[in-house]
């Protein structure tokens, strides 16, 4: 298995080549360790995708396809991966905030964060502040991610941060907000630690927080 070529093919979103290579690899009966190396090569390919996105070569549609490609790749590799999963670099509790039903941005962020090694607990859409609080209390993540597309999401994000404060949990987590309406001013008003309209950048911010 040429790992560099695999990474490159993932980066180029060349699905045919990636899937053909992986099928061939699995058919040869590799060890679990070899399989982990292949997963790492795919993740490295996803990092290239993220970089190309930040450089304006790729766009959101390409990120969605990248997520799909990675899911399919892992699916092919599953039989040879065994039960062990690679160590997680941190936990993120993620959700689209109350009143907002949009989840495309959230899902892109999720697949990229998972590819970067995070364990992501996805609370879904229209998530009440209380659900964030409960989950944070339960699993003690390093990071809380809130997503929203509507301008009303800003209010809900503020309510959620306030609820975390009231529960005494705000200082134990970093809060990142993402989505169309978020701005620096909104971020300050909401009391989040970071904001982004760019999933790849969001993942980088999270990586810095746990490193």
């Amino acid at each position: 298995m040429n790992l560099e070529a695999l990474t490159k093919a993932v980066g180029e979103l060349d699905e045919e080549q990636v899937l053909a290579a992986l099928k061939e690899f699995v058919a040869a009966g590799p060890t679990e360790e070899e399989a982990q190396q292949v997963v790492a090569a795919c993740q490295a390919g996803m990092a290239i995708v993220g970089d190309l996105f930040e450089q304006g070569e790729y766009f959101v549609g390409d990120l969605i396809f990248a997520g799909e490609l990675l899911t399919n790749a892992i699916e092919i590799l599953k039989p040879v991966l065994g039960g062990t999963s690679s160590a997680k670099i941190g936990k993120i509790v993620l959700g689209t905030v109350a009143g907002d039903l949009h989840d495309i941005g959230k899902n892109i962020f999720k697949s990229m964060a998972e590819a970067a090694g995070f364990e992501v607990i996805d609370l879904g859409i229209d998530t009440p502040a209380a659900a964030f609080v409960e989950k944070v209390r339960e699993i003690k993540p390093e990071i809380v991610g809130m997503s929203g597309v509507l301008t009303l999401a800003l209010e809900a994000m503020k309510d959620t941060v306030d609820a975390l404060k009231a529960a005494g949990l705000r200082d134990s987590v970093k809060v990142i907000i993402g989505g169309n309406p978020v701005t620096k001013e909104a971020c300050e008003q909401i009391g989040a630690d970071a904001f982004t309209t760019n999933a790849a950048e969001g993942v980088k911010i999270c990586q810095r927080w746990v490193s």
Binding site: F59, G61, I64, G99, D100, P128, T151, L152, E155
Partner: protein
């Protein structure tokens, strides 16, 4: 002539000039709030009012009396009752009472050929029953559900039209007919295939996507057309997917059928009104290629670049960020209006409007105060 009639005449003239590419007497202005905001502003329960439409005339009267606008502020696209009767998964009410569009899939990848053969048959046979669950029923039931839904639709939009007319009689707005349609690629993406689905399709089955766009274009032209008797009006086309695509994909999948749509509607004698969501700065040269005096309302972008690249041939609008109304001071809000007017108004072909509609009310009432300040500035300084 009553005051309201005189005002309506003056305002209509602004748009007659604007739509034909002449410089109007002053910069035409549209206000920002959507019906959801207006209901809350009048102190009514949002969700209940969207269902019943009770007191909608009083609700709008309060708003219209306080906020100037050259276009009639009464209107909405989404009302819950008929969507409910249809068992809609495509539009549902979120917990706050706002109608939203979750990601749905009405057409499976293996069904492209069925769609291409007859889009309208496929919509009725395959797509609608998936997205509107009450239509997934035996034929008589299906017919009745559709009849009930259409009745609710006519009732509700009848109320909207009556309130709209009442406000027009009292406050005198520009008289403009409006049509509505969607770009072919966006149409395939939004409900049949979903954002994720189409992003995958353009790589896995590009030919099918192209054929589907071609096949649906005549339907979308038909949907958008205003009757020939309408002298002044526009066809609203909200644009969705292009900013999320690479230029080479845009050029191949999005642009050709979209251009055809705009050209055919424009050839029919009416202006297309593009509501350009997200950032289209990469595509300004394409936009400039559209028929003259297409209205382009931008959500994001550099106003100078917009004016330079499309503002000579087309009518520019939007770009005023409503988030500033929510977060800024009065002074910052007025400064932003000044900045946009200074860049975009010279030479005409400019319609002051916001980047999108304001949906939610803020507890502090800051939006209303800022909106009034901006409105006042535009009216006082918009004369040519």
């Amino acid at each position: 002539m009553t005051d309201a009639r005189a005002r309506a005449e003056e305002r209509t003239q602004l748009f007659r000039d604007l739509l034909k590419g002449k410089t109007p007497k002053r910069v035409p202005y549209s206000t920002a709030p959507a019906m959801e905001y207006v209901i809350q502003y009048a102190g009514y329960d949002l969700e209940k009012t969207l269902w019943t439409l009770k007191d909608l005339d009083k609700i709008y009267d309060k708003f219209c009396a306080e906020f100037l606008s050259d276009t009639n502020p009464v209107g909405t696209y989404r009302l819950p009752t008929f969507y409910q009767i249809l068992g809609s998964k495509a539009f549902v009410m979120g917990s706050g009472g706002f109608m939203q569009h979750p990601e749905v899939v009405g057409l499976l990848p293996e069904e492209y050929d069925e769609f291409i053969a007859s889009p309208y048959d496929c919509i009725l046979n395959t797509i609608l029953p998936r997205l509107y669950t009450a239509l997934d029923a035996e034929p008589s039931q299906k017919a009745l559900v559709l009849a009930k839904a259409y009745r609710a639709y006519l009732d509700d939009f009848g109320v909207i039209a009556a309130v709209r007319n009442k406000m027009h009689e009292k406050y005198g707005y520009a008289m403009l007919a409006a049509g509505f349609t969607i770009a072919p690629f966006d149409f395939i993406a939004d409900f049949p295939r979903s954002f994720s689905g189409i992003s995958i399709d353009i790589r896995r089955r590009p030919e099918k996507v192209l054929e589907a766009c071609e096949a649906v274009t005549p339907l979308l032209v038909k949907k958008g057309k205003l009757p020939p008797s309408v002298e002044y009006g526009y066809i609203m086309i909200p644009l969705h997917m292009a900013p999320y695509m690479r230029e080479k994909d845009f050029e191949k999948f999005y642009w050709p059928t979209f251009k055809k749509l705009v050209e055919e509607l424009s050839a029919n004698g009416h202006n297309c009104y593009l509501f350009i969501e997200q950032d289209w700065m990469r595509y300004l040269d394409y936009l400039n290629d559209l028929p003259e005096n297409t209205i382009m309302r931008f959500e994001f972008g550099d106003p100078k670049l917009v004016k330079e690249k499309v503002g000579k041939k087309h009518i520019v609008s939007g770009l005023y960020p409503i988030t500033l109304l929510q977060t800024g001071t009065k002074e910052q809000c007025v400064d932003k209006a000044k900045e946009l007017m200074d860049i975009l108004a010279p030479g005409g072909k400019y319609w002051f409007n916001y980047d999108k509609s304001v949906l939610t009310i803020d507890k502090e009432g800051r939006i209303a105060d800022n909106l009034k300040a901006v409105t006042e500035y535009v009216y006082e300084n918009g004369k040519y």
